[in-house]
Symmetry: C2
Subunit: 193 residues, 2 copies
């Protein structure tokens, strides 16, 4: 969709925090009225852009080829949330601009709360449905998977890797963020592929 592409381009080039409806219309090659059909305020624009980013990410996850095992599947899924190419970097910038505004906009906060609650529940179900792993030797310190808590950990870790790689790519290059995620998943699911 033209409007979403225009928003992502603007987010990538100079950020969404000072953009106007007029400018989005011009970048998308549509009328101001057409843009206002979808949003008329800055908050509505951020909410629209964020929903489009979520939809696009979900579409990419659905299109993933089957992986070797559950750990590889989880890794491939979560990589869709990291800024590993120009498209995902632009999406991450939209997410950051949206989330920063959510701290002072109740409407955006409700969307962000609902989105993270849904992703947490999906991760919890994924972790709960994993084929049972070999029991760790008692007292070995082997992590025992706890689906609800581990889903929170994993969600925070991916959001944090995204946050650090987008806001400080010298300190955490995106490729290093992906390797760091792999290290975490190898420890969490040591018997799995």
């Amino acid at each position: 969709m033209e409007l979403t592409d225009a928003l992502l381009r603007i987010a990538a080039d100079r950020g969404l925090d000072r953009v106007s409806v007029r400018e989005v219309a011009s970048a998308a090659g549509v009328s101001i009225g057409a843009v206002q059909y979808y949003f008329s305020t800055k908050d509505e624009m951020l909410a629209f852009a964020f929903r489009q980013v979520v939809d696009r990410t979900r579409a990419r996850v659905s299109a993933l080829k089957p992986a070797a095992g559950p750990r590889q599947t989880l890794a491939a899924t979560l990589r869709q949330l990291l800024p590993l190419d120009a498209r995902r970097l632009a999406e991450c910038r939209v997410y950051l601009a949206f989330a920063a505004r959510a701290t002072t906009s109740p409407t955006l906060a409700a969307i962000q709360n609902a989105t993270l609650t849904t992703i947490h529940e999906e991760l919890r179900q994924t972790l709960a449905s994993l084929p049972s792993l070999p029991s760790p030797p008692s007292g070995s310190g082997h992590p025992v998977l706890h689906p609800a808590r581990d889903a929170r950990l994993l969600l925070a870790l991916v959001d944090g890797l995204m946050f650090d790689a987008v806001t400080a790519p010298t300190a955490l290059p995106p490729a290093t963020a992906a390797k760091t995620l792999d290290l975490y998943l190898e420890r969490l699911l040591p018997g799995s592929d």
Copy 2:
């Protein structure tokens, strides 16, 4: 300092993204000239506020009472970065506003990169200096500590817990974020207090 308190109050109440120098001066009870001595543009204001937040956080960490052991010390330190009271929540909001702008401002990006690089190095040194833990039974899946990589993981995890708890406090209440951090540290340093 009056100016910092005014910025933190505005960040907490309505965010820093639409605030003017005039408004900050009025909230701090000082002249516009006094404010402009510290910053005259929005980016300079965010950089100033972020530096103050970093300094305040470091001062709190330095003032921490000695904890039972290295894991408790690390937990107490990292909790200073989570939104566990009104003051830390306001600081986190400043951090988010700053970081979101850093994605499109090279000046802010340089500060954010330098800050995360420094924190990563401090965490790496802390992890490298831990008294050696009992060796895990071979093949037990016990995580073997890798200071540089584990410092990246830990930094991303804390940033992610902060991000989720500030932007989606219904999905991740701040107290749950702190418990999630504890769970992670117990697994990472199982033999420690």
